[in-house]
């Protein structure tokens, strides 16, 4: 396997031009912490963003940060923290689940549309991503979006790049909208709720005016509701949420490092990280559909699970044998609405079942067209998301 580590965008264009000319596929990589996510790709060479690093733009008063794609996420987070700011979408760290090492990059956060618990209030990575530069399959350097948060000029290729997992282009630079870090964070913890009651509590809190930034349920343990803001507002909102939730029991309030650890774990899939031989699925559905969907799966499989996003994000582990539960999970998701992604499984399972949600025939046709329009020679991570794209 050849490893290409361009240090400039023109060098990256050259690597792509050579690969496209010889029609030899490239695996695209940032820090390599998510390499085992997706269908196994066949490639002779690896194109890494590791040589494209550094924050290129940071204007705290404009709430915007730009960085070359290979910049470690840690560096971006630290730069923002110095000025009391953060990425609003709370990107997950896949190392916990996948057992990988290395440093996640800001480019991969964009490419995978990686979000965490705060997604329910502040949107996904793609909602904060306001600009990209990338090399397309014609070896051209392309820009879309920019550094301003309101921009409707032209077709929004930024969104297309977000969540395309390196199948449409090689990101060289990304620009995100950022937000102030809250002065105070508090979490209400309710004990002893069933899944259905817990999701009801989470939805009730999320539908209150008190701006819930995290809403998770750990079955058999507790149900968590997080609020963030100025200290005086938090006192008030805690009181109001207690009132709104009084039918669901008497909550404790957790703050500080213990609460931060808890939310980091929820973000990263930590409750299901062990045992490591189990497969892990990530399912998105309408929150109130969550418990029924889980019940249908658990009736057919040895499943363990927890909920984020007010019940709408289900993390679920299954034995990694056979299809890792794909048939039962796909059937349940089809009934409830939503989509499921196999985040962790041995290579032979990922080669045999759909890792990403299978698409309807017309959407698959459109997706193949889009792939061809950006990567006509099919050199970028071929087949990582779906066979043929």
């Amino acid at each position: 396997m050849t490893l290409h580590t361009p240090t400039t965008e023109p060098e990256a264009c050259q690597v792509v031009a050579d690969a496209a000319g010889r029609r030899t596929p490239l695996t695209l990589q940032g820090g390599g912490t998510k390499t085992d996510l997706g269908r196994p790709a066949q490639a002779e060479a690896n194109l890494s963003s590791a040589g494209l690093t550094g924050v290129t733009l940071y204007e705290p008063a404009e709430l915007v940060i730009g960085a070359r794609a290979g910049t470690p996420l840690r560096e971006v987070v630290a730069t923002l923290a110095e000025r009391g700011q953060e990425l609003s979408f709370e990107p997950m760290d896949h190392r916990v689940l996948l057992g990988t090492t290395g440093e996640p990059t800001i480019g991969a956060v964009a490419a995978g549309n990686i979000s965490g618990p705060r997604r329910i209030l502040s949107g996904a990575a793609r909602d904060s991503l306001i600009g990209v530069r990338f090399v397309n399959g014609r070896a051209e350097a392309i820009k879309s979006g920019g550094r301003v948060m309101k921009n409707v000029t032209g077709l929004d290729l930024v969104k297309l790049m977000a969540g395309s997992w390196g199948t449409l282009g090689f990101l060289t630079e990304v620009t995100f909208k950022v937000q102030p870090r809250p002065e105070r964070i508090a979490t209400l913890s309710l004990p002893g709720l069933s899944d259905a009651r817990a999701v009801e509590a989470l939805c009730t809190a999320a539908a209150s005016p008190f701006e819930v930034t995290g809403a998770a349920h750990l079955p058999g343990e507790r149900t968590l509701i997080r609020i963030e803001g100025f200290s005086t507002a938090i006192d008030y909102r805690l009181g109001q949420l207690r009132r709104v939730l009084k039918g669901f029991g008497t909550p404790d309030v957790i703050e500080g490092e213990a609460a931060a650890d808890l939310w980091r774990g929820i973000r990263d899939g930590a409750p299901l990280a062990e045992p490591r031989d189990r497969a892990v699925w990530r399912i998105s559905t309408a929150p109130t559909m969550g418990p029924g969907l889980v019940e249908a799966i658990a009736g057919a499989l040895d499943a363990r699970w927890y909920y984020d996003w007010s019940g709408g994000l289900i993390w679920l582990s299954t034995p990694a044998t056979g299809d890792a539960g794909a048939a039962a999970i796909r059937a349940a998701v089809a009934r409830a609405g939503g989509h499921a992604t196999l985040i962790r499984a041995p290579m032979e399972v990922r080669a045999a079942v759909d890792v990403f949600q299978p698409l309807s025939e017309p959407l698959m046709r459109v997706s193949m067209g889009i792939k061809a329009s950006l990567d006509p020679a099919g050199v970028f991570n071929p087949g990582r998301m779906h066979a043929g794209v």
């Binding site: 915007v64 297309l160 969540g163 209150s208 005086t232 998105s284 994000l313 989509h339």
Partner: protein, 476 residues
């Protein structure tokens, strides 16, 4: 009249009767508008200086009818201009003689509201405001609030990725859209997204949003509805200089406060709006900010207290915190009537570029120079928190050549926005208005890539073809 239209296809014009007969077989008789008098109502949108009579107008009532009409147009090579309420300021819905108008205005029902999941499923012809009105009894609202929200449709909002005064906190259409039913040009009906978060596969929802009716026609949408804050209250502050106002905006945001709205008006705009709305605006300042915060009464007091404190070094004058609902309404009435009030005293064109907010003083002084260079006036009203400018270039349509001068000044202003790191359009869209400026912001490679993606949906350039991309050098 500097914006070019493509030469109508004579062969299509010659087939008009045949095309109308074909359409008549597909839709309810009331859905098809063919007489000249009735078609005239559709010959322009909110870019009223430009008009073209469409071949015919079709106003379907169902997704199936939309599908049948698009399939027909696809098979017969007939161009289609999709239309919501026709409120586009960029000419996004302006017809062309060899195209039919396909309007969704009759498909205006609320289909389902789900307060627990905080979603609403609507037909795309519903107006923006009607969504908020339909959920208001439970304290909910739909966040994007373009000034035209009383009339504009969610279909048009999706086509243009519309914003509004509150997007600093709540985002624009693309951030509040969960799913669409999209009819492709060949008549195929596809579902993208749904009641859940993040659509599967490539982010086609994000691609369709803001695609200006060139990828297909949205007939249904699932949008995020939000529980409204307990209360909201604006404050206004006057400043002696643009620099002070700009620095105050930066200081507020730098202090970790994201107001729900942060609006800027310059001296001419203040004067125009005050004369119309009697809002109590200070008339002796160079710049004014309207800053709105949300929450409980206590939270609002706390936040506005912090903001007033932060503003002190910038010598604010005439600081006024709304003390009642009536005062709050008056403060907003002035801002919201800015375009209408300006229209009473002058003809104007409204520009929509976005700039990095740090460039505000520089850009405002350059705008002044540009406009004066053409012998015209300007009033500036805009969203200061996100840098989305709305310079209103004032002119007199009765004076020969003035409109052309205003358009030229507008173009210079947009070039300036791009030059300082911003963009041509923050929320109105490209339409025909900014189409020929696209090469200021994008390279040919950038535009070709956009057009190739567009071409996946419409290789023959039948969907809203005169818009967005320069007429020359097109690819599919």
């Amino acid at each position: 009249m500097s914006i070019a239209f493509p030469v109508p296809d004579e062969a299509v014009l010659a087939r008009r009767d045949e095309i109308i007969a074909g359409l008549a077989r597909l839709v309810h008789p009331e859905a098809l508008i063919v007489t000249e008098d009735e078609r005239r109502a559709f010959e322009t949108d909110a870019l009223t200086a430009y008009r073209r009579m469409p071949l015919a107008v079709v106003l379907p009532s169902t997704t199936e009818e939309v599908s049948a009409v698009l399939r027909f147009c696809h098979e017969h090579g007939v161009k289609v201009v999709p239309r919501g309420a026709g409120t586009s300021l960029a000419g996004g819905a302006i017809p062309q003689e060899d195209a039919i108008i396909l309007g969704v205005a009759k498909m205006n029902r609320m289909i389902a509201v789900d307060f627990m999941n905080r979603t609403a499923r609507v037909q795309s012809g519903i107006t923006n405001l009607a969504i908020s009105q339909a959920v208001a009894h439970e304290g909910f609202f739909y966040a994007p609030d373009p000034s035209s929200q009383l009339a504009c449709t969610i279909a048009g909002n999706i086509a243009m990725n519309s914003g509004g005064a509150h997007c600093l906190k709540y985002g624009v259409t693309t951030n509040n859209l969960l799913g669409v039913t999209l009819v492709l040009l060949d008549g195929t009906v596809v579902q993208i997204g749904g009641e859940h978060l993040d659509s599967e596969g490539y982010d086609l929802l994000g691609l369709v949003c803001g695609s200006e009716g060139q990828l297909g026609v949205v007939t249904e949408a699932v949008v995020r509805i939000l529980r409204a804050a307990e209360g909201a209250r604006p404050a206004l502050m006057g400043f002696d200089s643009v620099e002070d106002a700009g620095a105050c905006v930066a200081a507020i945001i730098g202090a970790g406060i994201i107001p729900v709205a942060l609006e800027y008006m310059d001296r001419p705009a203040i004067k125009i709006c005050e004369a119309f709305a009697h809002a109590g605006y200070p008339l002796d300042v160079e710049a004014m900010l309207i800053i709105e915060v949300e929450g409980s009464d206590e939270e609002i007091d706390d936040m506005l207290g912090r903001i007033v404190e932060i503003a002190k070094p910038f010598n604010p004058r005439a600081v006024k915190v709304a003390a009642s609902e009536a005062e709050a309404a008056a403060i907003w009435k002035g801002r919201k009537s800015a375009f209408g009030a300006t229209g009473r005293i002058s003809d104007y064109i409204c520009m929509d570029g976005t700039i990095p907010t740090g460039q505000l003083p520089h850009v405002l002084s350059r705008i002044d120079e540009i406009v004066k260079g053409y012998g015209l006036g300007v009033a500036n009203v805009f969203h200061a928190g996100d840098g989305n400018l709305h310079p209103l270039v004032l002119f007199d349509i009765n004076k020969p050549g003035e409109m052309e001068k205003a358009e030229a000044a507008g173009e210079d202003i947009l070039r300036l926005c791009v030059e300082v790191g911003g963009c041509l359009t923050g929320e109105h869209g490209v339409g025909i208005e900014k189409r020929d400026l696209m090469r200021c912001q994008f390279t040919d490679e950038d535009l070709h890539q956009q057009m190739r993606v567009r071409g996946v949906f419409d290789p023959a350039w039948l969907m809203n073809p005169a818009k967005v991309f320069p007429l020359d050098g097109r690819v599919a």
